[in-house]
């Protein structure tokens, strides 16, 4: 028992905690993996979708919008300059002044004031009136800055403009040193069909270049205005002006842009990978008012740089979810596992208690058994020893089987003198320890009576009745305790004469095949209700050689068993005795035991059993 308990105690904690922890950890890890996977998957998918959408939007809308806006700005500025130039060219006062060869002072003041005002009020870097009559070059602020000469190549623009006959024309003068490009609008002034002057305005695109910056889409993006040779005229970066498109984009892409379909007003999109392996998105279009092209390019990396926040957010989201999940799982598994844990602890506690109680019980039981063992030794010590019995009988046997190791049955013998002896079998009410108490008292009373009074069985029983009553029923209040006994006593004289008296115990005598059942009296003795005046009868028996006598308590005949679980009964005992023939008493004892064991089978013993057989 003890070793078993220790084994269980060692086993339980060993097995339990790691088992529990491993399970929880497994669940947490699995859940984390699943959730990280799903976050990564959804993030990746949404990242890809968003990237595609962003790139698509960039190409189809944002870049086009930028480039269209810039083109419109440039075109608008130039168109306005054209209009201004044409208005100046058709001003009748100015025409008249030029046609008069600049002689009219009043008109001259007007014309000079006019160009100065235009330059000042409409933000043109230059305004001019160049007369074909006087070849005078009048600039803003009434300055006469040059006289046109056909021999001067710098004045070629003037003469070619006159000869072209175009109402309005465009002349670009890029000044690389100043990092600026000037656009001159030349309008032909006619007086009655004859060209008299070229007038116009000059404007710088520097202002527009400033606007490029406002459209800047990213650190690495470029917006260029390039001419038919691929030369960059405008860029938000001054150092790039004057350089060529080839310097920045792959030559095949550059030539594709330069030689591309000029007539189309639609922006063209190109995607290419540069020498650094970066994907570049490029959009270009032609301007309406010039054959220049606007080119806008941006590295893909940069345009989708906003998406990197999605990456970062997904990362942060995964991390936070991870922490939360671990926490929640840990918490939940703790909360869920706790009752389980408690149940284990409880069952362990109960197991412990049970084993303790079992231990306690087994200790108590051991104590009781020890005590009963001792009681048995005491009870056995009052029973007559075998050497005394050997002296009394030629042969005898005794079956003494208390149901609970000690019991209410006992046998008693006394050799009074050389020729006289007494033998008795008594059955006190109760079994076990209570029965044993009775036997101790009755045994002692019986010995007293025989010692002090007489050896007459009937008298002994009558006296025993009185004395037991006196001894056991002194306390009237406990009326329910009513104990007594059955007894059968034989007095034997000279091995010739036997006198038997019984109180509910009979004497069986075997003579040859015959069995004589000497009943004795039917009343038990010693009970509260037993009358003090009970009288008992002595039965005389002349002993013949071979007579065998049997005294037994009711335990033997009352033992249940057999097919119907009835008591063994007198009939079977009778048959047993008569069947013994010439068998000696040791054999007969065996026969009694065999019959009993065979009859009771697996049934427990019902009562204390005593059988005494003897012969003279």
């Amino acid at each position: 028992m003890g070793s078993k308990t220790t084994a269980a105690e060692v086993l339980v904690p060993d097995k339990k905690s790691p088992m529990y922890d491993r399970g929880t950890m497994k669940v947490v890890v699995l859940a984390c993996i699943i959730i990280i996977l799903s976050i990564v998957m959804t993030s990746s998918i949404s990242y890809l979708i968003t990237q595609e959408a962003v790139v698509d939007k960039l190409k189809s809308r944002d870049m086009r919008y930028i480039i269209d806006s810039m083109a419109a700005k440039i075109d608008g500025r130039i168109e306005r300059a054209k209009e201004v130039s044409v208005i100046l060219a058709t001003d009748p006062a100015v025409i008249q002044w030029v046609a008069s060869g600049e002689t009219d002072e009043r008109l001259g003041e007007y014309a000079k004031g006019k160009i100065t005002g235009i330059a000042r009020d409409y933000d043109y870097s230059n305004t001019f009136i160049v007369s074909n009559i006087t070849k005078h070059y009048w600039a803003e602020d009434s300055r006469l800055i040059s006289i046109m000469s056909e021999s001067n190549p710098e004045h070629n623009w003037f003469f070619s403009a006159l000869h072209s006959g175009k109402t309005v024309d465009l002349n670009i003068d890029s000044n690389t040193a100043r990092g600026d490009t000037f656009v001159f609008i030349n309008a032909l002034m006619k007086d009655q069909g004859t060209p008299v002057a070229i007038v116009g305005v000059g404007l710088t695109l520097k202002e527009i270049a400033k606007e490029f910056k406002s459209y800047k889409f990213g650190e690495q993006s470029n917006l260029w205005l390039v001419d038919g040779q691929g030369k960059i005229h405008l860029s938000e970066k001054i150092e790039e002006i004057g350089m060529y498109l080839n310097d920045f984009v792959a030559p095949d892409i550059a030539s594709q842009i330069i030689e591309g379909n000029i007539s189309s007003n639609q922006p063209q999109a190109i995607e290419y990978t540069n020498q650094n392996g970066e994907i570049m998105d490029l959009v270009y279009r032609v301007t309406k008012s010039t054959d220049w092209k606007l080119v806008f390019q941006i590295p893909r990396r940069e345009s989708i740089s906003i998406l990197s926040t999605i990456k970062v957010n997904a990362g942060i989201g995964s991390f936070i979810s991870l922490v939360l999940i671990i926490f929640i799982f840990y918490y939940i598994s703790h909360r869920i596992a706790n009752p389980f844990k408690r149940a284990i602890l409880l069952s362990k506690e109960m197991e412990k208690q049970v084993s303790e109680r079992t231990q306690e019980l087994s200790e108590k039981n051991q104590k009781i058994m020890d005590s009963i063992d001792y009681a048995q030794r005491i009870q056995e010590s009052i029973l007559p020893p075998s050497d005394e019995l050997i002296n009394m009988f030629r042969e005898y046997f005794i079956i003494w089987e208390p149901r609970d190791r000690v019991g209410g049955d006992f046998y008693w013998a006394r050799k009074i003198d050389k020729n006289k002896s007494l033998i008795a079998v008594a059955d006190c009410t109760g079994h076990g320890v209570p029965g044993a108490f009775m036997t101790m008292a009755v045994n002692s009373i019986l010995s007293h009576i025989v010692d002090e009074i007489c050896d007459n069985p009937a008298v002994i029983i009558q006296e025993l009745n009185k004395r037991v009553k006196e001894t056991l029923h002194r306390n009237q209040s406990s009326s329910m305790a009513d104990d007594g006994l059955d007894i059968g006593i034989c007095y034997v004289e000279d091995k010739k004469r036997l006198v038997f008296a019984g109180a509910k115990i009979a004497l069986d005598v075997k003579r040859a095949d015959q069995v004589y059942h000497i009943k004795g009296n039917k009343k038990s003795i010693g009970y509260r209700r037993s009358s003090n005046d009970l009288e008992f009868v002595n039965n005389e028996w002349k002993i013949e050689d071979g007579d065998i006598f049997y005294l037994m308590s009711d335990g033997y005949v009352d033992q249940n068993g057999g097919q119907r679980d009835y008591a063994l009964g007198h009939k079977r005992v009778n048959q047993l005795i008569s069947a013994q023939g010439e068998k000696n008493l040791a054999q007969q004892q065996q026969a009694f035991e065999d019959l009993l064991n065979q009859y009771m089978g697996d049934e427990p013993q019902r009562d204390d059993i005593t059988v005494v057989g003897f012969t003279f």
Binding site: T429, R529, Y566, G569
Partner: protein, 130 residues
């Protein structure tokens, strides 16, 4: 008055005492460790029952007990004596004892009871088919 019903156990009989139909029924073996404790409430019931018993009504007591140990038989005797007294006091009481034909000890037990009583006591063997 309430009915008295006690279920049988391996060592105690089934008790079914019905004051309405005036029948008492005891069936089963009786060998409890403490017979007085078992029979005490039964005595109490019987005392109360006899107290309120009407003169004209016939009370029948059925016994069917294959085995009765010594202390139980003392208790049964006390029970029967209570009924005997009632009978002697003029009340109508009838004891019917049944035993299985083969069970001689049960019959002997009944006969021993009968000898000490004046109340009408019928002992009937029954075929063993239970």
């Amino acid at each position: 008055m309430e009915k008295l019903y006690i279920e049988s156990t391996k060592s105690t009989p089934e008790i079914r005492f019905d004051p309405v139909i005036n029948q008492m029924y005891i069936k089963g073996q009786s060998y409890p460790e403490n017979a007085f404790k078992f029979y005490e409430p039964i005595f109490a019931w019987v005392d109360e029952y006899i107290e309120q018993m009407e003169q004209e009504v016939l009370v029948e007591i059925y016994f069917h007990m294959p085995y009765v140990n010594t202390s139980s038989s003392k208790c049964l005797m006390m029970l029967l004596e209570k009924l005997d007294e009632a009978y002697q006091a003029g009340k109508k009481v009838m004891v019917r004892w049944y035993y299985d034909k083969e069970n001689e000890m049960a019959m002997e037990c009944a006969e021993e009871f009968k000898e000490d009583l004046t109340v009408p006591f019928e002992i009937n063997p029954v075929e063993e088919n239970s």
